[in-house]
Structure formats: structure tokens, C-alpha cells
């Protein structure tokens, strides 16, 4: 193990080479956003003049300050300014697109011409469409997404927080941190189209992630990770410390694994495993793109029970608990809350404007979605779920292959544990799980009362699932 961390702070250091004033970051970004908006409108006109039937221009920009810690030492201080234009043109029912980070009128005009050239060589598709401002009115901003003070968080302030978090995470000397990163990012993204749609949004976010393992003498655990975020500086310290403790607990728990016995039957999925093995399949078969291509098994199942009645899944694009919140989707349609599955019944297919037109329905504003999902808790204690079988595997992560179409999955149960008579008997190694989503989806027997956030985009209870093959090493 390396020496203990010594974190110092040079007084007076700010994020940039010049003295920074409160509001500088936001002002700089707003100026960039304004310039890009002006350019975007010029490009909309240019595209139509050049023969496009419709054109969409996306702009984005960010100012990010980031620190990286490797082996308990700050290894890099990083500051980045980024901008991007993305262009989509439709001409004669064909499409072409272009992206560039060169924010100059002549480069972006060239991008329009490249996109038009690609469209001319493409294949006609009558379903191509863009919304107009009558169906995509200006979205209402979410106040919690932006904080001027947070935008001005300096590298020195980040460094101070990281020092505290690192001390917390490595209190147990068996915790080996490969990489610990923290960043503050102020960003905007905007979307304009030639049919009058104009959306924009500004946000600040402080994010962090830990990646590492447990090392105890010659014993090395598998890698594990944890991450979190906050919208405001004031909320950061407490959440960061929670993540540091959670990460340390995970990697030390993974040490000294044992082999599991093979069986087929009940396992418990942690919230991380639920995200990897359940919601991925559910969203694929509910997606408008799978439905329009005839790949979904749930083509005609809206309103019908498709998974266990234990499952109620919501999308909440305006909930501050989720990092992916947004006020408008990739088509420029204002986002809104949805119940996607209600007590096992499929409530809707997830359509953007394109898949909706192909399926002769209307968009439910899901281009790029869902944006922040929560699976409803159940009525059982996790401890009771872990007593459901004399020997039961608690699957925490899944590393393997999934076939979305067939529903098959097969891979290694990572960071997973064996419970015997309800008691934790340690981490497992070389343990593989396999099964089929359509077989187990109706055999989800219970959900826990307890829930946990996964990576800022999903919250879920633990689930008791039947029909899983466990192959011990």
C-alpha cells in the first residue's frame, strides 16, 4: 500500500489562470450558448436555402474542472471547455447528419452540405419527420438543475473534498483505490429546428466515482466501483462521504471469496443486478424501435401482464434524484412522467417521433429516454428474501452476454455473495449465472422494502427471482 494521503490547498487558487469572480463560469457559458444559438439560427436558414426540407440543429457546451486521484495521490488536474454542433437534415424523405466541434460559421455550413450530400445517397423513408412548435412548446426549466455558486467551484475546493473522502474510503487499509475522480461541470444543450422548435437548458453538476479493489496481503478482490452526484456544492460533502463508505464496504466484502455450488432456482438480484438483467430487457421490448422493426415480443401487449405483478416501473424525467433529468427529449418534445409498467402490465411503448410515425401512433416524448427510472419497493425485508432457500446467491453485478431479442443471458456473478440459512457466508468466485428473461420475468416472487440508488439513473429494491441457473467454479 502507498503512503497516506497528504492533501493541501494553495490559498487563492481558482479554476482559471486569472482571478475568478462569482458568476464567471455561468457568464462564460451563457455567452457561448448565445453565440451558438445565433449561429444555429443562421444554419437553419442556410440549410433550407441549400434545399433541405427540414433541418434540426443541436448545440452543446460545457466547462468542466476535474481532479483524478490514483493510488491515493492527486495525479491530474484537468480543465476543459467543450462545444459541439450536431446537424440533421431531411430532403426528399432521406436523411443525413453531421457533427463538429469547430464553432465557426463556415465549418458548420460545410457540415450542412456534408449532411445533404449523405442524404442524397441514402434511401427514401416516408416516416422521417420532425415536430413543430405546436406539439413541442418551450419546456419549463427545472430550477434545481442550475446553481451559480456550484458553477464556480474551484479545483482547490474539489481537492479539499476529495481529501476528506479519500481518508474516509481508505480508513480500512485493505481498500486499494485505482482511480477516484471528481468533477464539476457546467453545461448547456439546446435544440432548434426549422419548424420553430427551440429548447435549451443549463445545468451544473458535481459528480464523483471510485474504482478499485480490496487487497489483503496476497489476496486481491475483483474490481468494484461506486459513484454519485449532487446538483449543488452544499449537498456534495455528505453524499460524497456516503459513496466513499459504500465503496469501501463493497471492495473489502469482495475479499477471500469461496466457490458456490451449482443449482437452478431462486436467487436475489441487488438493485445493480436488477438494472443489468431486468430493466435492460424490459426497455428493449417496450421500445418503439423494437416494436417498429418487429423485434419486440410485446408488440400487441400494451395493457397486458408481461412481467410479474411485483413490478411497477416509472420514468421521472423531472425528479432531482436522477442525474439524467431533462426538460426536453432528443426530438425537442417536453418530457413528462410516465408509468411504464404497472403491477406487471405494460402501460405503453416508448416512442420518439420517428418510431411513432412508423407505428401510426404519437410520440410519448421518449427520444433518448427513459431519463430517470424507479422500480417500486415491495413488502418484504431483504433479510427475509435471503432466507428463501437454504443456500441462495445474492447477485450484485452481472458481467456477461445478454441477447435482448431472445432474452438469454449468461455470465459471471460479480461482487456476489452466498447466503446459507439467511446468513452471509462470504463472496463467491468463478460463479456463473444463466437464464432467460422471458422465463424468469413472470417468476419474480418478491421485492424488498429497502431500495437503493444505482449510479444516479435508477432506484430499485432487491428482487427474489426464480429459474436462474447457477454454475459454481
Amino acid at each position: 500500500m502507498k503512503s497516506d494521503t497528504k492533501f493541501g490547498m494553495k490559498s487563492g487558487n481558482k479554476a482559471g489562470p486569472t482571478n475568478q469572480q462569482t458568476g464567471d463560469t455561468a457568464a462564460a457559458l451563457r455567452k457561448t450558448a448565445g453565440e451558438m444559438q445565433t449561429l444555429a439560427h443562421e444554419i437553419l436558414e442556410h440549410g433550407i436555402k441549400k434545399g433541405a426540407d427540414r433541418i434540426k440543429v443541436g448545440t452543446s457546451g460545457s466547462i468542466t474542472r476535474r481532479l483524478v486521484v490514483e493510488n491515493k495521490e492527486v495525479s491530474l488536474a484537468n480543465s476543459l471547455e467543450d462545444q459541439k454542433f450536431s446537424l440533421l437534415v431531411h430532403k426528399d424523405q432521406k436523411k443525413g447528419s453531421a457533427t463538429t466541434n469547430i464553432v465557426r460559421a463556415e465549418s458548420i455550413r460545410k457540415g450542412v452540405e456534408d449532411a445533404l450530400a449523405l442524404a442524397s445517397f441514402s434511401v427514401a423513408d416516408p416516416a422521417l419527420n420532425m415536430p413543430d412548435s405546436s406539439v413541442a412548446p418551450k419546456a419549463v426549466a427545472l430550477d434545481f438543475m442550475f446553481d451559480e455558486r456550484t458553477a464556480d467551484t474551484t479545483l482547490a475546493e474539489i481537492q479539499e473534498l476529495m481529501g476528506q473522502a479519500l481518508a474516509r474510503a481508505t480508513k480500512d487499509k485493505r481498500v486499494a483505490i485505482d482511480k477516484f475522480e471528481m468533477s464539476v461541470s457546467t453545461s448547456f444543450h439546446a435544440l432548434y429546428n426549422s419548424l420553430g422548435v427551440a429548447q435549451s437548458e443549463l445545468q451544473t453538476m458535481i459528480g464523483w466515482s471510485f474504482f478499485g479493489m480490496g487487497v489483503d496481503g496476497d489476496a486481491v478482490s475483483g474490481f468494484d466501483y461506486d459513484s454519485g452526484f449532487a446538483w449543488k456544492t452544499g449537498d456534495t460533502a455528505a453524499r460524497l462521504m456516503e459513496t466513499a463508505e459504500s465503496f469501501a464496504a463493497k471492495v473489502t466484502a469482495n475479499l477471500h471469496p469461496r466457490k458456490a455450488n451449482s443449482y437452478k432456482g431462486l436467487v436475489v438480484f441487488s438493485p445493480r443486478a436488477v438494472e443489468e438483467l431486468l430493466t435492460g430487457f424490459m426497455l428493449y421490448h417496450a421500445s418503439g424501435s423494437a416494436v417498429m422493426d418487429g423485434k419486440s415480443r410485446w408488440q400487441d401487449e400494451v395493457g397486458k401482464a408481461v412481467v410479474s405483478p411485483v413490478i411497477t416501473l416509472r420514468d421521472q424525467p423531472h425528479n432531482p434524484a436522477f442525474a439524467g433529468v431533462t426538460t426536453f427529449d432528443g426530438d425537442g418534445m417536453p418530457t413528462r412522467d410516465h408509468v411504464l409498467f404497472d403491477s406487471g402490465k405494460l402501460c405503453m411503448h416508448l416512442h420518439d417521433c420517428y418510431s411513432a410515425k412508423r407505428c401510426k401512433t404519437t410520440s410519448n416524448h421518449m427520444s433518448g429516454g427513459p431519463f430517470g427510472m424507479s422500480l417500486a419497493p415491495g413488502g418484504s425485508l431483504l433479510a427475509d428474501l435471503l432466507r428463501s432457500r437454504r443456500e441462495i446467491l445474492l447477485v450484485d453485478r452481472f458481467s456477461g452476454n445478454t441477447d435482448a431479442i431472445k432474452g438469454d443471458f449468461s455470465g459471471v456473478a460479480k461482487s456476489s455473495r452466498l447466503y446459507v440459512d439467511g446468513k452471509d457466508s462470504g463472496a463467491v468466485t468463478e460463479t456463473m449465472i444463466a437464464g432467460n428473461f422471458f422465463e424468469f420475468a413472470k417468476k419474480i416472487e418478491a421485492a424488498s422494502l429497502e431500495t437503493e440508488a444505482v449510479g444516479g439513473s435508477f432506484t430499485s429494491p432487491w428482487l427474489l427471482v426464480d429459474g436462474i441457473s447457477v454454475t459454481g467454479g
Binding site: K6, E81, A98, I102, G400, G473
Partner: protein
């Protein structure tokens, strides 16, 4: 551009003897995807900028600018220096020095760059549309045919304050096709793909694309009636793509010096036996076996000339993979493994082309010596862990019974502890192929890498169903 970068480096490193590294990167890419008779993706992208690393008093600062004029680059240099100064007081252990390697002073244009740059975009998109149509028509059992083409045209200039001043232009095209077959509600998927460092002709001459339309369709249809393999520890023959995945995921990541420092399973194992004596494994930035491997780069993103780094020689671990900082710490020469995905990414220790050296056995003999096992073809995705535990998916497997390749079986997941599995290798074929050219390695940033090897025979866990 190179002269401007040289001038800026000279001006800004002299003042306090700091290290300055400027990296200009321009990437043009074209991406096309056709499926079910329509074009889903037809995109052109252009990105450029300059990344700046500064090391002052043993601390790194990084900044980047997408504006490539002198004023903007100067501002980025000032920002990177400021960032280094911000953290220098907080570092307990400073970077002592950067190990000097063979610093590149070259202007290099890779094969196929001019060909791809000059080729009309209509021809490239047209080929994708035509291949998709051919595949769709090749069998009535196909529900979906899909083709993708992606090309990266990379232009890089690297100038460092300790001697590197080099430029490179590299063309990286890749093509893949996949088919979904359907019968009585049952579905099966098959795919083929290849990527090269080269031009259009080189890409379509890749052996993985031989008879690609017929092979892709036939495999998807055959897999409709295929069974799942039986789970458990099995004798397996791994095809070159799967060997490449094993080399990359299971061994390569554990010998990246940053992971070694954290405590990967390879830590402290230099000079010890980690594999069967039949195993010699290397990572190279300048392969000459076929000449088209995707990870061919004349110098890395610290300006160090690349060469072939032998990792395991006759079963003994002999080297880790290094950047200049880790090489100094380990007291060895840098291996040219510092790579950054874009100008605004800092260089990390990454693989290039990772492979097992071919041996002397013949595949047919290797099969004939197995009573009960599998021939594993078609690599899927894979992941490895710090403790050497790996997992990777395969496209499909062939049952081997009584010395004969018999039944086609559905995809399987393979896992094991890397060094344990390599100790079980008892045959290595003379046949060799690079076969992961469509792959991207993920380690915070993507990286274009390749991997391959001969066929090898070993024992490992095959994931399957329990009764």
C-alpha cells in the same frame, strides 16, 4: 501546425524547466448503418483540438482547446500549468521524472489513408446499402439484415519539451454485418466483422470477411435449431478472435502498469511462471505479421516510438505495459502504451495489438485429440478483473466428440482465472489471425485496439444451463 506547436513548447517550457506536451488531433469520421431496407445512420463528423499536459514540480496539469489558433493554445498551456500548480502542494509523492524513451521525430502516413480520403462518400454508403440488400435476400428465414461501416481518419501531431516532434495520419475503417433468423417464433443472431489499419481494399480482403454474406446468413439460420452448450469446466479450443480476447481482457489489463501499481494479480510476478511453456504473448504497436492490425501506431500519445513488448515469454512474465511515468517508477524503458482517445483526453496506459505467438500444432490434430469438448468461435464482449477473473462471450461453439467437430451449439460465456487457464494450455496452432479489429477497449476512454493469435487448447469454465 507542427512548427507552431514546436515554437509554443519551446517558449513555455524554458521559463521554469517544466515539461510541456502539446498534442494536436483532428479526426474525421463517417458512420453508416443500413437495416431492413432503410438507412438508419449516415453521419459525417469532424473534431479537432489541442490537448496540453504540463508537469511542474512533479504534478500534472491538463487542459484542452478546440480552437487551434496560437492564442487559444497559449491559453490552454497557461491553464494546464495553473492546474499543475494547484495540486502540487497537495501531492505527497511527486512524479520523480519521465523515463526517456525513443522520442519520435517522424512524419508518417499509414497505409490506406490517401485511398480512403479520396474515395467518394457515395461509394462507401452505397456499398453498405448493397451489402444489406444482399444479406436480406440471401435467406427467406432472415427477419433482419444489418450492415455497418465506420471509418476514422486520424491526424495527430505531438511535440514535447524533451524531444518528440512527430506527426501521423492513420486510416481505420471497419465493417460488420449481422442477421437475425426467425422460425416458429424462435430467433437466432449471427454476425461477422473486421477492422483494419489500412484502406478500403485492405478491409474487404480481411479473412474474417470471406464469404461474409453467405456465412452470416447460414450461421444465423443454423443456430435456430441449435442447443445450448452444457455448463461446467471443459476442454476447449479457442479460435484466434477468442484467443485475442483472452490476451486483451484476461492478461493485458492486469499487466497495465497503473493496474499493477494498484495491486492487480500481476503485481510482483515478473520473472515467475504464469503460463504453460507454450505461451508467448506480446503487445505491439508495429505488427508485421499481417501489417493491418488496428492498433498500429508509429508513436504513442507521449511521443514515444512504439515497438513490440513481450509480456510473457515461454510461460514466464517478463514485462508490464508502461507510459513514461510508470516506466520511471519501475526503472524500465517506456513501452509506448500511452494513448488518448481524443485531444481532450489525457493519455492512459492502453494496449495496442495484443496477441499470442503462433506455435507448431495443427488445428485438425488438436481437435482429433479431444474426446469431449468445444471449439469456440466468434468473440463477443469481454471483461477482466484485477484478480485475473475474466468473462467473455462467444458467438457460437462447436461440440467436439471423440475427436470430431460435430454439432453447432448456441453462444456460450467463458470464464476463469487468467493465469490458471494459461497454465492449462497444451497445444498452440501454427495458424494465426488478427481478429478483433472492430473492437474498442473501454477504460474511461475508448481506444481502438486489435488482438488475435493462433488456436489454443486449454481448460476453462463454460457457462450453461443447470437442469
Amino acid at each position: 501546425m507542427k512548427e507552431m506547436l514546436k515554437k509554443l513548447v519551446a517558449q513555455n517550457s524554458a521559463q521554469d524547466n517544466s515539461y510541456i506536451e502539446l498534442r494536436y488531433h483532428k479526426r474525421q469520421s463517417n458512420s453508416f448503418m443500413a437495416q431492413r431496407g432503410r438507412v438508419d445512420v449516415a453521419n459525417h463528423s469532424l473534431v479537432e483540438g489541442v490537448g496540453v499536459r504540463a508537469m511542474i514540480d512533479g504534478a500534472w496539469g491538463f487542459a484542452a482547446t478546440a480552437r487551434v489558433d496560437e492564442t487559444s493554445i497559449l491559453r490552454a498551456i497557461e491553464q494546464a500549468r495553473h492546474n499543475a500548480l494547484t495540486i502540487v502542494a497537495g501531492r505527497g509523492k511527486k512524479v520523480a521524472h519521465l523515463q526517456k524513451g525513443k522520442m519520435a521525430v517522424v512524419d508518417w502516413t499509414g497505409p490506406g489513408f490517401a485511398e480512403l480520403l479520396a474515395m467518394p462518400i457515395a461509394d462507401k454508403l452505397g456499398a453498405v446499402i448493397n451489402f444489406e440488400r444482399q444479406l436480406a435476400k440471401s435467406s427467406k428465414a432472415l427477419h433482419t439484415a444489418r450492415c455497418r461501416y465506420n471509418e476514422l481518419l486520424e491526424e495527430k501531431i505531438i511535440v514535447t519539451s524533451d524531444g518528440a516532434a512527430a506527426s501521423a495520419r492513420i486510416a481505420l475503417p471497419e465493417f460488420s454485418m449481422s442477421a437475425i433468423a426467425e422460425k416458429d417464433g424462435e430467433r437466432a443472431t449471427s454476425s461477422r466483422g473486421a477492422g483494419v489499419s489500412g484502406g478500403w481494399t485492405c478491409l474487404y480482403n480481411h479473412p474474417a470477411l470471406d464469404n461474409m454474406v453467405e456465412e452470416t446468413a447460414r450461421t444465423a439460420v443454423d443456430l435456430l435449431s441449435a442447443k445450448h452448450p452444457e455448463g461446467g469446466k471443459k476442454t476447449v479450443i479457442l479460435a484466434p478472435a477468442v484467443v485475442g480476447l483472452l490476451c486483451h481482457e484476461a492478461i493485458g489489463h492486469t499487466v497495465e502498469a497503473d493496474f499493477v501499481k494498484t495491486g492487480s494479480v500481476a503485481q510482483g510476478k515478473i520473472g515467475t511462471s504464469v503460463a504453460s511453456k507454450l505461451v508467448t504473448m506480446a503487445d505491439t504497436g508495429c505488427e508485421t505479421i499481417a501489417g493491418y492490425a488496428v492498433g498500429n501506431i508509429p508513436f504513442d500519445d507521449e511521443g514515444v516510438e512504439t515497438e513490440t513488448t513481450t509480456i510473457i515469454k515461454d510461460g514466464v512474465l517478463v514485462s508490464y505495459l508502461h507510459n513514461r511515468e510508470s516506466a520511471a517508477e519501475f526503472g524500465v524503458a517506456p513501452t509506448g502504451n500511452a494513448r488518448a482517445w481524443l485531444f481532450n483526453d489525457e493519455p492512459l496506459i492502453r494496449m495496442r495489438n495484443t496477441f499470442l505467438q503462433p506455435g507448431t500444432s495443427k488445428l485438425t490434430d488438436m481437435i482429433s485429440e479431444i474426446d469431449d469438448g468445444y471449439l469456440v468461435e466468434g468473440a463477443g464482449s469481454g471483461q477482466a478483473d484485477s484478480n485475473g477473473e475474466f468473462m467473455f462471450g462467444t458467438g457460437y461453439v462447436w461440440q467436439i466428440k471423440d475427436g470430431k467437430k460435430t454439432e453447432l451449439l448456441r453462444e456460450a460465456t467463458l470464464s476463469g482465472i487468467a493465469f490458471d487457464v494459461l497454465q492449462t494450455v497444451d497445444a498452440v496452432s501454427s495458424e494465426f489471425r488478427w481478429d478483433l479489429g472492430t473492437g474498442y477497449c473501454g477504460k474511461g476512454q475508448p481506444a481502438k485496439v486489435d488482438a488475435g493469435g493462433p488456436y489454443i487448447r486449454c481448460k476453462m469454465n463454460v457457462g450453461g444451463r443447470q437442469g
